[in-house]
């Protein structure tokens, strides 16, 4: 027999009327978020609707997978399951409530047949149980056994009241159901209600209790819903919006800065370079800060935070979130409160972005502050400042280098790029030119390309791509270098480039096109793979074990994981470190930190130890900065030379054969 809504409640329909003011309170709260977020700058994305699965500014796939299904949450399986139970349970309960409402108003037949049995009875009970289980998990974990990521640099308050309220809503819901079943008879499928009904009697006092409970449950549920925008649970709504608007391209893209208004004497207002206060950020960034869950997943994977440096990406984002909440959008002491020491510790490795379930772009925020420190305030750590000056003066950041620009090829026969004749420019890059250990990568690539009969050449004179300047926050310096390179490339008719450094690759592919430099750029690991596939290189697979370290700018930032592994696999047996592929741990050299006086534990030692811990015969990588950092880091643990670039290992095999 079907269920009759409001069977014991006079004027039960009033609860639906009470829902109206609650809805007003709910939307008022959401409007408050919008009011705060709209204080950010409007940035027009000129790429609108150019990519598949994108409608206007909305990335549909990202919205569905990361925003609504919350796929990133499940990387931590226990939290993920608890979170899934809570979220999907609430969705099902809300749906059930709406169906009851439609039944009352329009007679929608939801209380009969299989639908009543499986959905209105069983599924709703199951959902309630899942929500309750989730609540218990979160309360126990937050209050009794909080992991460091939740408490460092500080814990969020405000979760417990709303979660407790939800718990009471669920409990009272079960009690009401139990009372109904006690009076009306067993409801197949309502396993929780049926069980609780055993505790009820059937007298008038039980009917009265049921009636009170029903109203209490109803009001608490409405109160809960109205409270969501004012509580941390607002992330239920903000995360999907943030996911829908977050560019799914891996890694951070820093937009171009137009410096022309500085040239214009008539210009009344100069643009602020980077950001010093909240009002300098875009609305999307302010949405980021409002969305932050304070979950600390970013803190947990951050190489700076995990090695005793003063930076925590969570710390940065929550400071901004609090500042936004307090309405301090014009407070330019914000940048000082974050401290330049902390902001320059970021290696721009994007591990935080990768881990963040709310799709927040932490490195972009940090980079914006850096841009302000460098370009507006001349504040930069001393060694980074020297690297910047060297870039400006010499076109490369390796101040004090003992190497001349042609030292790396003095014993090699390397062709120069000739317009119309040469197919590929072999781009050497600054670290490969000026650091003795990295020079061997170029030597190896020259041997390999010559062996494979590739048409390639190098530039007679070259300068850095500008990437180190960009990562240190000196966008102006980057733009100057990039423009000069683009002019040189145009003069030589360069169309295809092989890079040995992922930072160069990233610059050429992400940033040069915006300045008018469009090339086909191939990282050397990908090129080696293609040579192997085409049979232009053949390697004997040996019994050596080789562990591969993913450089952040090749892996996380450009999703190139398989090709270098394929190359490694064609030479020996690939072994993985515990943290690999998109969860790889940085070598410590990114974001200009190759030129840092590191405080705390050295990041390169942590990663080198992890790599050596695999027991592999060789540790391969495909980035000269990673090679240099890990070689240095490994010195603490072994005197053997174990770290190599994959090109060196390939070239070694060519020699041995």
């Amino acid at each position: 027999m079907g269920r009759t809504p409001y069977w014991n409640i006079d004027l039960g329909i009033l609860i639906d009327l009470f829902a109206l003011p609650m809805i007003v309170i709910f939307f008022y709260g959401m409007y408050g978020h919008w009011k705060r977020i709209r204080q950010g700058k409007v940035r027009v994305n000129l790429d609108l609707s150019k990519s598949a699965g994108k409608i206007g500014p909305v990335y549909l796939y990202s919205l569905l997978t990361k925003g609504i299904l919350g796929t990133k949450i499940y990387k931590k399986i226990y939290t993920g399951v608890a979170h899934g139970g809570l979220f999907w349970g609430m969705v099902v309960l809300l749906l059930g409530t709406i169906l009851v409402f439609l039944n009352v108003l329009f007679g929608l037949p939801v209380f009969s047949g299989g639908f009543n049995h499986w959905f209105m009875a069983f599924a709703l009970d199951f959902a309630g149980l899942a929500v309750f289980g989730g609540i218990l998990f979160f309360l126990v974990r937050r209050l009794l056994f909080p992991p460091e990521r939740l408490t460092e640099p500080k814990s969020r308050t405000g979760f417990s009241p709303i979660v407790l309220l939800l718990g009471v809503v669920i409990l009272t819901g079960f009690v009401v159901e139990g009372g109904r079943i006690a009076c009306n008879g067993i409801d197949n499928g309502s396993f929780m209600g049926n069980y609780l009904s055993m505790m009820f009697g059937k007298g008038d006092e039980w009917l009265t209790l049921h009636r009170y409970m029903w109203w209490i449950h109803g009001f608490l549920a409405l109160g809960f819903l109205a409270y969501i925008p004012y509580s941390p649970l607002v992330h239920l709504l903000l995360v999907p919006v943030n996911a829908a608007l977050a560019d799914p391209m891996p890694g951070t893209k820093m937009g171009l800065i137009d410096f022309s208004s500085f040239e214009d004497e008539e210009s009344e207002e100069m643009p602020v370079l980077g950001a010093a206060k909240l009002a300098d950020f875009s609305r999307k960034r302010l949405l980021d800060y409002s969305t932050c869950l304070w979950c600390g997943r970013c803190h947990e994977v951050c190489p700076a935070a995990q090695t005793g440096k003063p930076l925590s990406p969570k710390g940065v984002i929550i400071t901004l979130a609090e500042c936004l909440q307090d309405g301090r959008v014009e407070d330019d002491s914000l940048i000082d409160s974050l401290t330049s020491e902390a902001l320059f510790c970021c290696t721009t490795c994007a591990a935080c972005m990768e881990a963040c379930p709310a799709l927040i772009n932490q490195p972009k925020t940090i980079m914006k502050f850096r841009q302000n420190l460098v370009m507006e305030r001349s504040e930069i750590p001393e060694l980074m400042g020297k690297a910047n000056s060297s870039l400006e003066l010499r076109g490369h950041p390796f101040f004090g280098t003992g190497a001349g620009p042609n030292d790396w090829c003095k014993d090699l026969d390397v062709p120069l790029f000739e317009e119309g004749k040469t197919e590929y420019l072999l781009w050497i890059g600054c670290s490969v030119t000026y650091e003795e250990r990295a020079q061997q990568i170029a030597g190896s690539m020259v041997k390999i390309l010559s062996h494979a009969g590739t048409s390639f050449g190098i530039l007679e004179e070259f300068r850095c791509t500008g990437d180190p300047a960009k990562q240190m926050g000196n966008e102006f310096q980057f733009a100057e270098l990039a423009q000069q390179n683009i002019e040189d490339f145009s003069d030589l008719g360069i169309k295809k480039i092989i890079t040995m450094c992922p930072h160069c690759y990233n610059s050429f592919t992400r940033h040069y096109p915006k300045l008018g430099g469009n090339y086909q750029v191939i990282p050397h690991s990908v090129f080696l793979k293609s040579l192997l596939k085409a049979g232009r290189l053949s390697l004997n697979r040996e019994t050596n074990t080789i562990c591969y370290h993913d450089p952040c700018y090749l892996g996380r930032r450009n999703a190139i994981y398989d090709e270098p592994r394929d190359v490694v696999n064609s030479m020996g047996k690939l072994v993985e470190m515990p943290r690999n592929r998109n969860e790889s741990f940085c070598c410590g050299g990114g974001g200009g930190n190759y030129w840092a006086e590191e405080v705390g534990t050295r990041i390169n030692q942590v990663r080198a130890e992890e790599a050596l811990g695999t027991g592999a015969d060789f540790i391969a990588t495909s980035c000269p900065f990673c090679l240099l950092m890990l070689t240095d880091g490994a010195k603490k643990f072994t005197e053997d030379q174990k770290i190599f670039d994959i090109a060196e290992l390939v070239a070694l095999q060519l020699e041995e054969r």
Binding site: F262, S378, G385, S389, L393, G402, G404, D407
Partner: protein, 252 residues
């Protein structure tokens, strides 16, 4: 208060030894030209004084027209104008005489700062000669400058320690490199503003060259010598032996 900083544009002072070559007894012209290292410290010290005491700051240089582009960096760091005497002499007396002429054309100069030595000739004498010609006091190797009771108080760093000195009146100070005067990276709006700041170009005056002839110029040749130190059980012992050997060779 008007502060002048002397800046000299020199060939890249960091060209690796193995890559360094001379033409006509001077660094090859292919090397990039940049401001001298200590001169940048002097500019930074000048900018800090300017900010602290609301002074005005002029950059004065002796060199060629192409140096203007490099000297704009000095202006971008915080200078207000640039005065360049166009000339190509390497003679310290001639350079000092020309700098004197440029300084005298400026009004009411209170303090002149200069890098303790140029990055190309490494002589460290022009500023002393200039002080003599101007009748200013001269204090070399200054690390810190402060105003106190209308007088200047400076810390002078020497190899063996430091001394605190006080003086009134006008002076030329040669500036040494300390963490407090690490040259700043000019902010972007100053880089653009520097392009519009006035540049006074002055023709060279004839000064009395010193009666010295340059007979030859040599640069050190790169040599590789390998010596194995006895390995002891205690690495600290080996390090001591290494230190001893380096001292013997006068390398440190």
């Amino acid at each position: 208060m008007h502060i002048v900083v002397l800046a000299k544009v020199v060939p890249d002072y960091e060209v690796p030894a193995g890559d360094f070559e001379l033409t006509n007894s001077r660094a090859h012209s292919r090397y990039k030209r940049m401001m001298g290292l200590y001169d940048e410290n002097a500019i930074e010290s000048g900018v800090q004084l300017k900010e602290k005491y609301s002074a005005s700051l002029t950059i004065v240089s002796y060199g060629i027209k192409a140096d203007i582009q490099v000297l704009r960096k000095a202006v971008a760091m915080g200078g207000e104008k640039l005065s360049l005497v166009l000339g190509g002499s390497d003679d310290p007396n001639v350079i000092a005489a020309n700098l004197k002429m440029a300084v005298e054309k400026l009004e009411d100069v209170d303090l002149i700062l200069a890098g303790q030595q140029s990055a190309d000739m490494d002589r460290g004498i022009v500023h002393g000669m200039l002080a003599e010609m101007l009748g200013f006091a001269f204090i070399p190797q200054v690390a810190k400058i402060e105003q106190e009771d209308g007088q200047w108080k400076v810390i002078q760093n020497t190899e063996s320690g430091s001394s605190e000195l006080k003086f009134g009146g006008k002076a030329v100070l040669s500036i040494t490199s300390v963490p407090e005067n690490v040259p700043r990276i000019p902010v972007v709006r100053s880089i653009f503003a520097a392009k519009k700041k006035p540049v006074v170009q002055l023709p060279e005056i004839e000064g009395d060259a010193m009666p010295v002839d340059e007979l030859s110029v040599d640069i050190p040749k790169m040599e590789s010598v390998c010596e194995f130190l006895p390995t002891e059980d205690d690495p600290a012992e080996t390090a001591k032996i290494l230190l001893g050997r380096l001292r013997e060779e006068r390398l440190i």
